[in-house]
Amino acid sequence: MSQYIEWDALGNIVLWGLIVGAGLPTLFALGVRAVEGPGARDEEGHIPTFRKILGGLCFGIAALAVVGAIAYIAAGGH
């Protein structure tokens, strides 16, 4: 069986797949929690600045990852 499966490549795909493919949505979820989670808004409905920054950071990294992926596709790395 082993000569039919490239275990090294497969291991890398699973490892990086979990880091990127599961990590980015989690980061995005943390961003959502930062700006809309319980206690995110004060009585007047405003979101405190530090929560906005935290959320922006999470969304920003996710957006950067998308841009990076497009650059990667365009560079023919796939």
Binding site: A9, T26, V32, I73, G76, H78
Partner: protein, 408 residues
């Protein structure tokens, strides 16, 4: 062969390659857009338009086209224009049959299957590199969904855990954007990857016919026509496949859709980066299943998934049978005329499948309707007995009446 016949043959092969490209886009719209359509992050028409545009852009984005077909899977020396034509016919017909049944199946596997069948018919079993077929096609078809299910289920579990006490409206509003972004990536990667396959086939045919020199790059009209054929296919949308992926497997909400598409994009790009190509369709389907596995309280319709896995296992042999039959037909009639007969038969069969699809049309208007499996009377009876619920029986009568009306 007469020069006129030869150039006509070339035209037939190019037209068939573009037709395959079209079915490829048509069949694979769902991989990127089914989740966004099912969660209503995008309206069905918006989704296919976005996906088609990105496929178009993707086709121009990277042009590392190689004039090869099924490298390492069949003996390159036996691949003639006749084999390519028969292989394309096998791929197209299998794509259309699975579309009719609403089953997502890999377009590249269908093409490889068609070519393998044609090679078997042309050169016998020594023309096929069986080890390559097993290690590059059959085993990855089993591995891809497992990897994708793992990644998407972990992602979904973490996402839902961190957002469980966020208002559902806020979740939907914000995750919608994540969903659109990740689905767009899948579309773009698809356009780049799959349009190149058709470009490669056409380039191969042009070189074989001596229309361009052997070291030629891809002519611009080839890039343009492949990009347009795929974008058109994507825009018309294989609504049957979209419906199965979006509604048939798991009831999706935006958080799951986002986790599933990100997992798809990541696994697809990583697998090509590490040189272990996994099919977009298998990965996308696995990711959607995974988003159901990782969601507490969500049910996954494993019976639908089981039908899909079965379809993936028989994709290569079935497309191979069609490819072999097409090659046989061409060889029996013989010469240039044989190729035209194959082309004619392909059009006739495609037309028949399209006609069959009109019986129960699926389009943007009903793609999101509730998923109701067609249950036969016996199973409804069994269910009503087990649950002591005679209401179920009444549903069955109603269904019967509706069926009778439908038949008139």
């Amino acid at each position: 062969m007469e020069p006129v016949t030869e150039s006509l043959l070339l035209v037939v092969v190019v037209a068939t390659a573009l037709a395959f490209d079209f079915t490829n886009g048509f069949h694979d719209t769902g991989n990127a857009m089914a989740t966004s359509i099912a969660t209503r992050a995008l309206k069905p028409k918006q989704a296919v338009l976005l996906s088609a545009s990105l496929n178009l852009v993707g086709a121009f984005l990277s042009l590392t086209v190689a004039a090869t077909i099924a490298t390492g899977i069949v003996d390159a020396d036996v691949v003639t224009l006749g084999v390519v034509l028969a292989g394309l016919a096998g791929g197209i017909i299998w794509n259309l049959v699975t579309w009719l049944l609403g089953l997502p199946s890999s377009s590249s596997h269908a093409l490889i299957g068609g070519v393998v069948g044609a090679v078997l018919a042309a050169a016998g079993s020594q023309g096929v590199l069986w080890d390559g077929l097993i290690s590059k096609v059959l085993i990855p078809a089993l591995i891809a969904p497992i990897v994708a299910i793992a990644v998407a289920s972990v992602g979904t579990r973490l996402v839902t855990r961190f957002t469980q006490d966020v208002e559902q409206d806020d979740n939907d509003r914000l995750f919608r954007w994540g969903q659109i972004g990740s689905a767009s990536l899948v579309s773009l990667a698809h356009g780049t990857n799959d349009a190149q396959k058709s470009m490669g086939i056409i380039l191969l045919a042009l070189i074989a016919a001596g229309a361009v020199p052997e070291d030629s790059g891809v002519p611009f009209w080839v890039i343009l026509s492949c990009a347009l054929a795929m974008a058109l296919g994507t825009y018309l949308g294989g609504w049957r496949v979209i419906r199965t992926l979006g509604k048939g497997l798991v009831e999706l909400e935006s958080r799951q859709g986002m986790a599933a598409e990100t997992s798809s994009a990541a696994v697809i790009l990583l697998s090509s980066h590490f040189g272990y190509s996994l099919s977009t369709t298998h990965v996308a389907t696995g990711s959607i299943l995974g988003s159901g596995v990782g969601m507490k309280g969500a049910s996954v319709r494993w019976s639908v998934a089981g039908r899909m896995f079965l379809a993936w296992l028989i994709t290569v042999p079935c497309a191979g049978l069609v490819g072999a039959a097409a090659y046989g037909l061409g060889a029996v009639v013989g010469g240039g005329v044989g190729s035209f007969v194959v082309f004619g038969a392909l059009i006739a069969v495609s037309g028949a499948i399209w006609y069959l699809s009109k019986r129960e049309p699926v389009g943007h208007h009903n793609v999101n309707d509730e998923w109701k499996p067609k249950a036969d009377n016996e199973s409804i009876l069994a269910e009503s007995v087990v649950d002591h619920n005679m209401k179920l029986m009444r549903v069955s009568k109603k269904g019967k009446r509706r069926k009778v009306e439908g038949m008139r």
